[in-house]
Amino acid sequence: MKQPREKPISAYLGDADMLTVTRVSDTGREELFVAIGADGKVRAFNGHVDLGTGIRTALAQIVAEELDVPFQAVEMVLGATEAAPNQGPTIASETIQVTAIPLRQAAATARAHLVRLAAEQLDCVPDDLLVEDGVVRPRAESNRFARYGDLIAGRGIRLRLDAGAALKASSAYRVVGRAQPRIDLPEKATGAFTYVHDVRLPGMLHGRVIRPPYAGFDHGPHVGASLAGVDEGSVADVPGLVCVVTIGDFVGVVATREENAILAMQKLKVTWRDIPAIPDLNRPEEAIRDNPATPRKLADRGDVERALKGVGDIMNRSYVWPFQMHGSIGPSCAVADWRPDGLTVWSGTQNPFPMRSDLSRLMDMPEDLIVVERLEAAGCYGRNCADDVTADAALLSRAAGKPVRVQLTREQEHGWEPKGAGQVIDVRGGLDLEGGPAAYEFETRYPSNLAPTLPLILTGKIPPVAGVAQMGDRTAIPPYAYANMRVTVHDMPPIARASWFRGVSAMPNSFAHESFIDELATAAGVDPIEYRLRYLHDPRAVDLVRAVAERANWQPHTGPFSHGGDGDILYGRGFAYAVYVHGTFPGTAAAWSAWVADVAVNRKTGEIAVTRVVCGQDTGQVVNPDGVRHQIHGNVIQSTSRVLKEEVNFSADAVQSLEWGAYPILRFPEVPQVDVLMVPRPDEPPLGAGESASVPSAAAITNAIFDATGVRFRELPLTPERVRAALNPLPPAPTQEKPKFARRRVAGPLVGAFAGALALGAAVLPWRAPIAPVERPASDMFSAAAIERGRLAAAAGACNVCHIGNDGLAFAGGRALETPFGVVHAPNITPHPEAGIGAWSYPAFERAMRQGVSRDGSHLYPAHPYTSFAKASESDLQALYAYLMQQPASPRKVPQTELRFPFNVRPLMAGWNALYLSSSPVPKDASRGAAWNRGAELVEGLGHCSACHSERNILGAEVKGDRHLGGGYADGWHAPALTALSASPVGWTEDAFYDYLRKGRAADHGPAAGPMAHVVESLAPLPDSDIRAMATYLASLNDKPATDPRSASAGAIEAASAAEPAARMRFPVGARLFEGACASCHNDTAPVASLALNSNVHTETPDNLIQTILHGIPEPVGEREEVMAMPAFGASLSHQAIAELSDYMRARFAPQKPDWADTAGTVRRLATK
């Protein structure tokens, strides 16, 4: 059990062996900053938390330095509400810059007091003492000393924080300013660290939530009021289900085991009302301009209008920033333990104290009964779903009466995390006669980001009203001395649910500032850095800019194309500078940052690589140089990712990017080289380093692209499509070179009958004479040998693929099979006298099997493949009868089959059998040998392969002749051709058929999935000789491969790899989806066969590929080289995404085949089945 609990403040204050330093807060609460024990160990407390940045290490360095104790003696307690001071949310890079100040003062207070105590004990004056590693001794001698711990023992020292306590001079620092390895890594690297995800309490249950369909939107009257109903019966059979919880639009499930909570989440039938459409945020500019706003003037200097009158060429520029995600790698998780007298939560929150007050409101419980234990979670770079999931856990724990852990899914985190808001900035300006900036008018629009804790609005505790925050003003004031300048921010309510995300509005604002001045420099014919320096008057900024230019070996230039190119690849270099200003306007500056970015642009494909970044930063005093370097690296890489790749995609009513394929981020092969320059400022106050280095990114990169290409990009992200559209516009509406296949005509909406449904088509066909009922045959009537043979016959016939009971009981029936005629329910064929076939004599059974006539004389619908069974041997059918009569009888009646017009009209169907029931025997050919003949009997008879693998005509009859076994449909899947009509790039050989039927996969074809996987499972009892016989027969229907399979397969793989660039050009979104969602497993090194060989990408229709993407292959059958299953993506990818992905896969893996005609329609049809 991992149940971390912080000691409350009172435990420290009540400890006689403890020195404490406290401060009384504005609200009268006594807050603890430092506690030192008689063992010399130091605990220090900060209200800000470690979001993965290593702040825990840096804060401990500050305390160790100021106290003069070894670094290892300090342990930080961060954010726990019982122990840590309330210092607000961990935002704005202010932990070191702001909240560490009282910590440092508290340490200095403690040190001064301990030195005084030591002076008394050692009988000297404090000034004569020095402290090393927690030991106080006179400077002059070394044999008299006092340890901190000994001075404290038994004294119960209570100190008030002295804000005026003398702080150490930086020249005396021994710990601060030196690289300090992260405290947490040894545990994190060995699995010993306790993240919030790892908390386990005794008796803890597992919860999951089901979110409403308006993913990522949290205001409007429908929010909290869209639930129409929950069918608890839909999860009644989930093992260990504890409860289903519904409050407003809040829906959750609790189970004893996590996988069962997931199952319940997936199975619970929830009905939602229709929800309103949202503005089109895939084109954020329009939506943001249309959003009602209140202008707020931030600066008005000189006379902009008059100055612009003198400008010959006024530059009106607009910059557009998309909605983006924080994208925590670990979806949020929390544990809550609710009891009537109090609530404890274990949370990864960024805001322990504000969240506690939200929990108090949600749970109707006073704040002082709520304890927040703050544990580390995945990095969040702003506010993610950590608070939401904590509130979820509290609600579910209250309902279950036990501790509950709630883990959000990837899809929920992606969908519901408050996004980094999109932003639109307009700049108007131009050059004066001397080439200087005549005027600068800057207007920025930033949708608000307050995002109330989700369960508060889902449950209706607070109204779903959009609040307006004033956060668009970060770094809205340009750093340059523009004489005529007006800066306005348009405050506006949120559109999509949003929160602050690294750099907040400063990043887009600086994109505009730094792009525009670059453009002014080019227009003025001046080097971009030199131009900036003319108007940059902050000496530390100037120092930084010069230092970075020098480090990068910047070559002054006055226009683009300074770095040349190589074929289709163009090189360029760009500069940008920013200081991140946070907090209420005019705000506080964090570290200064400047970038020189090098890019390579492929002018043909539009692909961009950021190859190198020189990033300089003036952070003031640096506490942990390794930590700051780490933050700079992280900011450079993450912001490069945001600039090049990231935008949230929306459907008509919700967030549509729900996993990493639809929201790609930078990967290892794309990571640039980063050269960090840190300006040494040991005597200046430390500044926030968490966000600054992100801020210049966008402009540095787009300025570099301008240098490479001569084109300015003002909207992000810089996807290949966007770049290509500007550099290398494709001819309009390219004519499709490849012929498009029309969907092959099949009976009705495809989906043929599939194996062995004894469908009672009584209503549709003329009656035949009934056969009298009999007593169920006695169990000793059949020989053991007959029953065993019957078992194998049932296996060969794969009876249970269709006839398995819904409860898993063999032969009990009930499965709904979709056919062109309507839904057919497979009947119960257990020997129950009423519900099953217990009253059937063998002649009745045989008639049903061979002629499709039920015992009572009614006709069976040809979903039951009696046309094949007609060819089975007499002895096999007798054995099958014997075997079925030995099975446990199930009394469950299956639903009546209701066929739809016209198949429920008897005259239309009369004579069907006369037309199609052929009693032709199984092909026999003595010259072919025993195996071939046995194989023919199995394939054409009991095995009834043609029931699925042959096309059916309009009346549902199998097509004969050349197209027999030439491919058909079953249960929404395409059953590929088993003959020479096969579309597979590698011919089917006997060995391939054998492997496929026996092992569930063939090296050159891929695995069995969908209904075929069940067939392979069913065939398992058959002896090898039978499987080999089927393979022999099937192989004889195929041409002997012209080339050997190895080289055919190598050829197909090579063709696919050669086709990749073209496929990526044609289907860029699909290519990204494949890279993000598929390529982790489907790559060259995986043991699964290459997709280039997979039948599903080569067939005429995309059905099987789409089915596999939608539903996955949860448990691959047969022999497994690959232990991984294929996950289902139906709940993770949008229909549009699946279509784009399928189109890309077709173009890449089956490059010789024509495009599929209607992937989007096929996805819709299969997904909504």
């Binding site: 390895p181 995800h197 925590s328 790698i329 890489i637 981020i665 990571v671 232990v1123």
Partner: protein
Amino acid sequence: MTVELLVNGERVEVEASPQTPLLYVLRNDLALNGPKYGCGLGECGACAVLVADRAVRSCAVPLSALKGRPVTTLEGLGTRERPHPVQSAFIARNAAQCGYCLNGMIIATVALLRRTNNPSESEIREALRHHLCRCGTHLEILDAVRAAARAGSPDETHRDHP
């Protein structure tokens, strides 16, 4: 039902459905917290474990696939006191920020170094291509992998266990 597994060199039995993804059993039944839930789709790599010598995504491995195959988690590689050489390299190079992806990075590196003695820069980057890091720790991670590869230390985990 009872499923037998071989995890970190020990035979263990758990009561779970054979379809259960390995990840949940490692975490909840065996209290092995190294592997982390990241996406449940095999995309991000946070849940990686070694099955024999290969790095796989435990969120997509059903228990039924593991018959007789040895599983090694981050905990099975080494401990805080006696870390595996790859773990040591990651610790020494500060190769994590939040550390949530660290499990997958270390597991993928161990698998890489088991199949390739002296990987090139592009082999390293390819091996980590489908392991996502959002903090932007890629440079430290690459550094750690290079250091581990250079050290070429003996790999003393349970790879040869039955």
